[in-house]
Symmetry: D2
Subunit: 391 residues, 4 copies
């Protein structure tokens, strides 16, 4: 089965998606042949280079040109968040299957509309929460679903980075609220909220949070001006000047789940030494599980039912054939890396299209995630707890 | 210099204090000879046994009998929290130096009174936050005081245990609000709040928290009835019955420090596999430090000023002569244990008495800690942020 | 530049090589277009399937058919060790560039001949010691070359696995000396000997070793009969019977390097819980480095020149742009996996061909490695130290 | 029961023994009252200070004076190795119980004589292999004795330090073969040989080893001249001069056990960053155990019988009441330190005397250990394997 793809966006996620699409049929023998048909971006010389670098047959500079092409089966959205909704709705309207990077949109309201349109149209829709495709994260989900942890008491999640700690780091589009929607909240909390929902199968009921922008002005990002030009007609930000950072640098929140579990969540770009430290710990009455992305091939497990004398945290190397996804990869102990989460993800997406069955996470999950994100932001304004379902 | 001590309380802390008092002059050559004069507790056969086990010259069953003895220099309070204030005030009035276990009292108001009386009387007063005496914790404090971390962005602290997860575990005095004041909040959050204050030198400005009692009824603790009899005249709780747990099982909170740093704090007795997992991570503009009690001989350090090529978290084994307290102990790599924090602590306390200089942490720190504890509890009722200074 | 490849062998290494060849031009923009022309193996239905699975244009069942094809630039040898020499010599004679899996051959004598022929013919030759291409291993080499460790005192290397501990595990070709040459000695010690030579730049002077076969008879491997049929004309080993294991299960040795450093090496398939635990620690007068494959994105470093107060082992996450190979991959903290060592390896190999410069490790390294392997085996017979140069 | 002790030696081990003797009755309620009667050393002002520092009733400068005192029950030998035999034999002859630091003597022949005399006299004799008294090491022994590991395949032990890497470090008595017997071989290999014997219950059959002195001359140790004066009548080494180092800096060996297990052992004082890194890993058919002294409160365990999906190395925190020794210490997670191994050790020794039952390790173990040490040294001369029983 041939699947022709149009990819909108060509930066970091453009590269990761291109690789995932390429490698999926190498590792997963599902009889699917994905075709990297066309890649799309606003700045011609850059998208042309990306097409060459990542192996796309064609490129174009206006996503509207590709949405309605009859030879396109899948629209893959890897643009800044602000563009997700418009592109996705157009793609859905055109009957395309849609893969969209996270967070799904700027807020829960947008996401709800996207979800409803996708469901109405019956297209396969998937959200790019790639960390679900780490075999160790999938094993955690499986174990909890099998009741290996019993009642859940605590979810403890942090996503820590440090790449903008230098005050001289420029105010790139990810630091501009109008384009990115938010800072580490939408970028990182989105991931750990999703992992918590995925692993526990539970939903967050109410939240209270705090956020802070530690460095409030930064140099204008000359080298990135093609991106901010997405918003400005006159391209006037060519000179280096100090501009306002309009997203938060850090955002933490407390959460109560519907089941009664307690959660703590923290996302920051100011945790020195942490590069991509995405960690979640879940304590249940029968056991504890810990997943840490930077050590993604392992899952930590404490089992209350072990004999007392030999209880302890076990470091499971999740590279056995019996583990999720691994039979398609390498022998035990031969660890896999970040990009392989995209391979697993696209393999699942393509198979869903072939079998015409919805896959998760999808736009529903995007909406549920956005509700939590929105509730946290609202709580930082009202300074009190906020029910998630009201968003 | 001879120092005669009366110890009130004889359980876990009674043992730890007795050991610390014994070993202090062995390891610290300050010319001080502490004398374990008298140990005091309500239940005669138990306190008599404790006197024998821990090497006290005498025992008695009413603390009032020892407070005014002329041959007593130090009153050491290791009872349940509810008794701290009454004993401490009496000891202060009698002009004794006072060592008190944490938390200092049931609330900030009590603590303030204790602090004021102690300061007025001019007695040396110390609070039992023994974790400050881990060499690695003291090294962290020293490094931050020397500005090795620069501006602090984040404090991330948890204190996790699991000893009451079994629903059959009885409702001992620590689960009774009237005696203990609170659950892991006063027991564990008290410690990590103190470590945060100690290491950063900063104060918490406002907080918002949540708490939960996961298991609301437990069997009555027959074997502990002598303790609850402290409150009940008729000793009626002899039979095993299900009684209410009146303290929280877990309590988390968000904090904003006066300097603008953000903090997250969590204390729980429901984190399966965690025995005494007291961990604090501090992220500053120039570095990160991590202290974890269960690995108390190490301090983790990330230094932003290392060359990029070799940056990373360093595990410092805090067992060198140049490290705090270590010159009094063993050669490098010969790690020390929990009880040694008490040795270091009492050595510092005795030296303070000898030199007639106040030591930290003292009742002031107890008051500041209680303010934070109280503010968190209030915020769980009002469901909004609470200023700490208002408590 | 187009490079047409013939791959001989199609099992584990066949898959890994195919992937590495595919992904090299995606991540490395060197203007090279490798073409997976033909894959070769003895059993038609299996090699046909492999051609389809791994994306080769053609397949064939006799390697002699492809060696002399004019449209082939590279012969890539991934067969059992016994076939390496014959294939390599034929490929060299035909003027092809040769990539060969390790160990280079059955012994130093064979390897020397292969090296001499390759050098005479002037073809680019490379040996598949892929672990050199872990960025952390390459960083270790670079740091030692820059004298960051000073004089080297110790090399401490182990390569531990556990995949044949079950006595019911069959006697596959890797357990047959006539095909594999040796057991973990040639399979695993070959790797850690190479890492030691690579990182230190030193050669081993003399060795003494021991080896053992713990399980001396195992069931005949019915499912692998096509491989053993390489040796037997009548295909008589179809039935399940107990056959002799003719290779060692474990082999350790002591080594003295030419510089005076001391080394310990151990390879085993009987270290329960170890999957692919390839670890090397190097202690020098100015520092220590530790590389562990299962945690391949990190390098441990102790620096004698750090201030005493903050000395300790540092865990360097080798995912920064300034680290070897990483600029071609992902942002910091986005770790890579096993197969990426092959991508890096083939990228280096292709570039060497394009630039017509020899690359390392090559057949010279294969010969030096084989000398050590042979010397260890001889020492197990003579029960005394054996000079490596005599082999 | 009162036990009067004479301690010969007052440096590092003198301090550790004094503490262990003091604290044993605090933690172990066996009805024994050890009395620190007299401490003995050659240099009066130093031993006088030690008596005061460590709390001994008396001191003296000639060990012969105390051996025959009627009021002495125990002679505790903590001198340099060269004096062990003479003191022990005298003490045995006087009918005293003897505790002796390791290694028991300069060689197997001396140790055999000491063992035979002790057995003949029927005195309780114990050897100071304190690491056996780490609860985690004792747990490992117990688990192996219960057959939790099945047949043992591998023992992998290292004891790494770095305290003499600086060439300016002086040639103290531990670097003088005439006083110390050997370097890290007798100091450190002695410990890991003992741990291997203790945990496995097996004996080493034959060995082959290597040793090296990396730094062959060092400054004369002025400050330690009182110790070397034990050997020299004229006290002539007062000036700082470069003198020969007569012990090895590092010594490694391969071992074959009587059961067929393979062992590797390494002791060095030149492993930069390693302070007291005493580590042993044992691989058996049913599991693996790892003990590491610097993390002495944990035992690592891999269990082959765990379900495949959740297999992995478990970090057991050996601080539960059900673990060896721990019921006498603190609650779970409250770790203990180096000196507590001496407390456990002396408690066992005193109990053995009270119950008049031999304890292990004793002089028999000292002899067996010395046989291995001697065999390794001989193999470094003959350059071939050496049977242990021949020593």
């Amino acid at each position: 089965m041939k699947l022709n793809i149009a990819l909108i966006g060509y930066k970091f996620m453009g590269k990761a998606h291109s690789f995932g699409i390429d490698a999926a049929p190498f590792f997963f023998k599902d009889g699917i042949e994905p075709v990297k048909k066309v890649i799309c971006g606003r700045t011609e010389h850059l998208v042309k280079q990306a097409a060459e670098d990542f192996g796309w047959e064609e490129y174009c500079t206006d996503w509207r040109d590709v949405i309605n092409r009859e030879d396109i089966d899948i629209v893959d959205i890897a643009t800044p968040t602000i563009n997700h909704k418009e592109i996705a709705l157009a793609a859905i309207k055109a009957g395309k299957h849609v893969f969209c990077e996270k967070p799904l949109s700027m807020n829960a309201q947008e996401s709800k509309e996207m979800m409803e349109e996708a469901e109405k149209a019956g297209v396969i829709n998937m959200l790019g929460h790639n960390y679900r495709r780490c075999p160790a994260a999938a094993l955690a989900k499986k174990m909890i679903a099998e009741n290996k942890l019993g009642k859940i008491y605590h979810v403890r999640a942090v996503y820590l980075q440090d790449w903008i700690m230098d005050p001289a780091f420029p105010a790139i589009w990810k630091l501009n609220k109008d384009i990115a929607g938010s800072g580490p909240h939408g970028d990182l909390n989105a991931h750990i909220i999703d992992l918590a929902r995925f692993m526990t199968g539970d939903e967050i009921d109410e939240v209270v949070g705090m956020k802070e922008t530690f460095i409030k002005k930064r140099p204008s990002p000359v080298v990135e001006r093609e991106l901010s030009s997405m918003l400005k007609a006159d391209g006037s930000n060519d000179e280096v000047e100090m501009i306002d950072v309009t997203v938060e640098d850090a955002c933490s929140f407390l959460a109560k789940f519907k089941s009664g579990s307690l959660g703590t969540f923290e996302a920051t770009r100011f945790a020195g030494g942490r590069k991509n430290y995405n960690r979640i710990e879940i304590n249940g009455e029968k056991g504890t599980l810990i997943f840490e992305f930077e050590d993604m091939n392992r899952l930590q497990y404490w089992n209350a039912e072990d004999p007392q004398e030999v209880q302890g945290f076990k470091s499971i190397m999740v590279t056995e054939d019996c583990h999720p996804y691994i039979a398609n990869w390498w022998p035990p102990g031969h660890i896999i890396g970040y990009e392989n989460t995209f391979v697993n993800e696209f393999a699942d997406f393509f198979r869903a299209i072939k079998e015409n069955k919805q896959v998760t996470p999808n736009f529903y999950d995007g909406w549920k995630g956005n509700q939590v994100l929105d509730a946290v932001l609202k709580s930082t304004e009202t300074r009190t707890w906020q029910k998630v379902d009201e968003m």
